[in-house]
């Protein structure tokens, strides 16, 4: 009983202590100055944004806090946050495909009135980024984000290897043409085959690095670069959501076969589940001659002491037999609807939209979507990859941005990985199954899906 008596008094002390801690702990937090939390992915441009944000803090007195999550868990983490109406993020740089769900679910603040009031015109931004990152429904004047980080898939190559006389002459002897950055996917495959297994500086190297990641979006973001150029489309432009014969057209199937051939013939061993970071590692370690990756990483690669500078070259995603497109990446910046600091968040967007800030953003390693920056006469000379970036932004296509995009994406991840990496079925069967999966998703969403 003595114990219980002791516990009675101790329990009361603990309860009181906890209450006091809560009061004073809370008081301490409340005493802090203004602060905004910005959520994004953990990658090179995020570091540039932190640097840029210091100017905002200096001007406004609002302290910036950042929540950066690795790409592999970026969508899971932040969609969960938005779904649960969490208050972690005041500002979010959300992926382009989220825009439909974010608008329909009212996760983002609609920015039309704010843009009108602050005289921010979407005409001042690269059209593809406005459609891709800001508008929902697409091609309608309803804006939910400010284009923040323009991006697309591009390619890097080992310029130093390409320019070696012995390699050039060996290539010419074999293919009857000069070794140069490829303009078409057939050329790219030839070059990749040429380098595959070749010994350079006493080291075995491989032809190309392409995306094959299974878990999040990797293989889809890779294969679409080929599919678009072979004739794949998401739906019939005249009949929305009509996918039969468009997604699984014979041309699209040929594109898928090509991606598999490229994977089988010309990639390094073990690249069965590889995305951005694995590509960077492969290129930086001198393992591959050509690398598919997002432009966002190119400033960092250019600065790399081993493979950057004169040793690296860049080229636009090659054309295919039926077109010339590339996969859109990038994100817009939005104000989270559940934020308690919406006005401060809007002030950040107003500040970020200024031409001078956008110019500095590009200089620090971010990719501005503001026309005043990218259409400036000296822009193509401002970075080694700037001309390719400009060209790419003119030929971008994006994945579905429907509210159900995650289901559509995971269905494609599964079907394509099953075919390309796990050797399951044929290309035509894969795309037929994909049409079946997507039709089911859209029907669940209540969409009318025409079969022909």
């Amino acid at each position: 009983m003595r114990t219980f008596n002791w516990l009675r008094s101790s329990t009361a002390t603990m309860v009181l202590g906890t209450a006091l801690l809560g009061i004073f702990g809370g008081g301490e937090a409340a005493a802090q100055g203004k602060q905004l939390t910005l959520c994004w992915a953990a990658w090179d441009p995020a570091n540039a944004l932190v640097e840029l944000g210091k100017d905002f803090t200096k001007q406004s007195g609002i302290e910036m806090k950042y929540e950066f999550v690795p790409w592999t868990s970026y969508a899971d983490r932040f969609l969960n946050e938005l779904n649960s109406h969490g208050k972690l993020c005041d500002l979010i740089i959300g992926d382009s495909q989220w825009i439909g769900g974010a608008a329909e679910n009212k996760w983002y603040v609609k920015l039309n009135d704010f843009f009108d009031k602050e005289k921010i015109s979407m005409d001042d931004f690269v059209p593809a980024t406005v459609v891709g990152y800001s508008q929902w429904p697409k091609n309608s004047p309803n804006y939910w984000a400010l284009p923040a980080m323009a991006d697309a898939v591009g390619w890097t190559y080992r310029k130093d290897w390409f320019s070696r006389p012995e390699i050039q002459s060996a290539f010419k002897a074999k293919y009857g043409r000069d070794l140069a950055p490829p303009k078409t996917y057939d050329e790219l495959k030839q070059i990749a085959e040429f380098f595959q297994g070749r010994e350079i500086d006493g080291k075995k190297v491989y032809g190309a690095y392409i995306f094959t990641e299974r878990g999040s979006e990797g293989i889809t973001m890779g294969v679409t670069n080929v599919l678009y150029n072979y004739g794949f489309a998401y739906d019939n432009p005249k009949k929305p959501y009509q996918m039969q014969g468009v997604v699984n057209s014979p041309e699209a199937a040929k594109g898928l076969e090509f991606y598999k051939e490229l994977y089988k013939c010309c990639t390094a061993p073990g690249m069965t589940n590889a995305y951005m970071q694995e590509g960077l590692d492969a290129f930086k370690s001198g393992q591959v001659a050509m690398q598919m990756n997002w432009f966002a990483f190119f400033p960092g690669l250019y600065k790399d002491p081993n493979v950057g500078g004169d040793k690296i070259g860049f080229f636009v995603n090659p054309a295919g037999p039926n077109g010339h497109f590339t996969q859109l990446g990038g994100q817009g910046i939005s104000v989270v609807a559940t934020s308690d600091r919406k006005n401060d968040a809007l002030a950040y967007i107003k500040w970020f939209a200024q031409p001078a800030v956008q110019q500095k953003w590009w200089q620090l390693g971010g990719y501005s979507a503001l026309k005043a920056v990218v259409d400036a006469p000296d822009f193509p000379k401002s970075a080694a990859f700037a001309p390719q970036f400009l060209e790419s932004m003119g030929i971008v296509k994006d994945f579905w941005a429907e509210p159900s995009y995650a289901q559509l994406l995971l269905d494609m991840q599964k079907r394509v990985h099953d075919y390309v990496v796990a050797d399951k079925g044929t290309a035509q069967q894969t795309l037929d199954l994909l049409v079946k999966d997507w039709t089911k998703v859209f029907k669940e969403q209540g969409k009318q899906v025409a079969s022909q």
């Binding site: 219980f4 779904n83 069965t272 289901q407 995971l410 075919y419 796990a422």
Partner: protein
């Protein structure tokens, strides 16, 4: 206890009786259990009969009856995932039992460096599955990972000519291998407890009867450790049925869907596709399956114990 003493003991002190205090201590646990176990379970059962999709929460919530359950049970993919899971559970538990039991027999003897080797053997199970996943991803990397070089040394096959996590024929065995490496020591610990519980006099009597070591093993050691082995099988089978983190890190369910265990399917449906109604139904089906199988198994275990 004398009458006055007992009356002091049960008398409320400062307004609170012992019973009240006991309840006060138990109440937070019960409240926590209700809040994080029972309430979500009831809520999940409710959601399993709806069309809820959190990525489209603006759509009206519809009661769909047993549609989600029908969709799951008629989906070939789900059955395939269950088969994959069953194969993983059977092979990994079987290997863990054989290796764990063998290790327990070895460790049960006294030898020089006994404590050191016991610690070394137990180390894998002390690591987090996330660490194990990353660690083995590196070990199994075809170009720089030592595993392929080791295989190459014995077989002559070039190290970069095969990928343990990327080939359809090897990936399922890889997850079995890694899981066995991690959890065989756990089975060893349980078996060791069983071996140490066998009284010495039984072996002494067997010695007197001139029973061979083999006979002693078959007639004494194995029968007396079977309940422990069965317990180990139960624990490992339940754990492996739920296996997610290690496999997710090693293969993400790939190549294709080759190593996609049902827990990965469930996670993708619930937190990537946001099909809340559907995934709730799948979770219930899995719960009932594991609960049912475990109950049957526990009954069998009790029968063995009674023998």
């Amino acid at each position: 206890m004398s009458e006055p003493a007992r009356s002091r003991a049960t008398r409320p002190v400062r307004g609170l009786s012992d019973r009240t205090i006991a309840w006060l201590f138990v109440a937070p646990t019960i409240a926590l259990l209700l809040a994080i176990n029972i309430f979500p379970l009831v809520w999940m059962i409710r959601l399993s009969f709806t069309s809820l999709n959190l990525s489209m929460s603006y759509l009206p919530l519809r009661f769909v009856g047993l549609d989600n359950f029908r969709d799951i049970l008629t989906d070939e993919d789900v059955w395939f995932r269950l088969q994959t899971t069953a194969q993983f559970v059977i092979w990994s538990v079987a290997l863990q039992v054989v290796i764990g039991y063998g290790l327990a027999l070895l460790i049960n003897r006294q030898f020089r460096g006994h404590s050191f080797w016991t610690t070394i053997i137990l180390m894998p199970m002390m690591l987090s599955p996330a660490v194990v996943g990353n660690f083995w991803t590196l070990l199994l990397q075809p170009q720089i990972g030592p595993f392929n070089y080791l295989i190459s040394m014995f077989t002559g096959v070039p190290p970069s000519s095969f990928s343990m996590t990327g080939q359809v024929s090897l990936a399922p065995w890889t997850i079995v291998l890694v899981d066995t490496w991690m959890w065989a020591p756990y089975v060893m610990l349980i078996c060791l407890a069983g071996l140490r519980s066998i009284p010495d006099y039984i072996y002494e009597a067997a010695e007197v009867d001139r029973a061979s070591a083999w006979r002693q093993f078959w007639s004494i050691t194995l029968p007396m450790t079977v309940p422990f082995l069965m317990l180990a099988v139960l624990f490992r089978a339940i754990e492996n049925f739920k296996m997610f983190d290690m496999v997710n890190l090693l293969t993400s369910g790939g190549p294709g869907s080759t190593t996609e265990l049902v827990s990965i399917t469930l996670k993708r449906a619930a937190f990537e596709k946001w099909r809340t109604g559907y995934s709730s139904a799948l979770a219930i089906i899995l719960f009932v399956t594991v609960f049912g199988a475990a109950n049957i198994y526990v009954k069998a275990l009790n029968k063995v114990k009674q023998r």
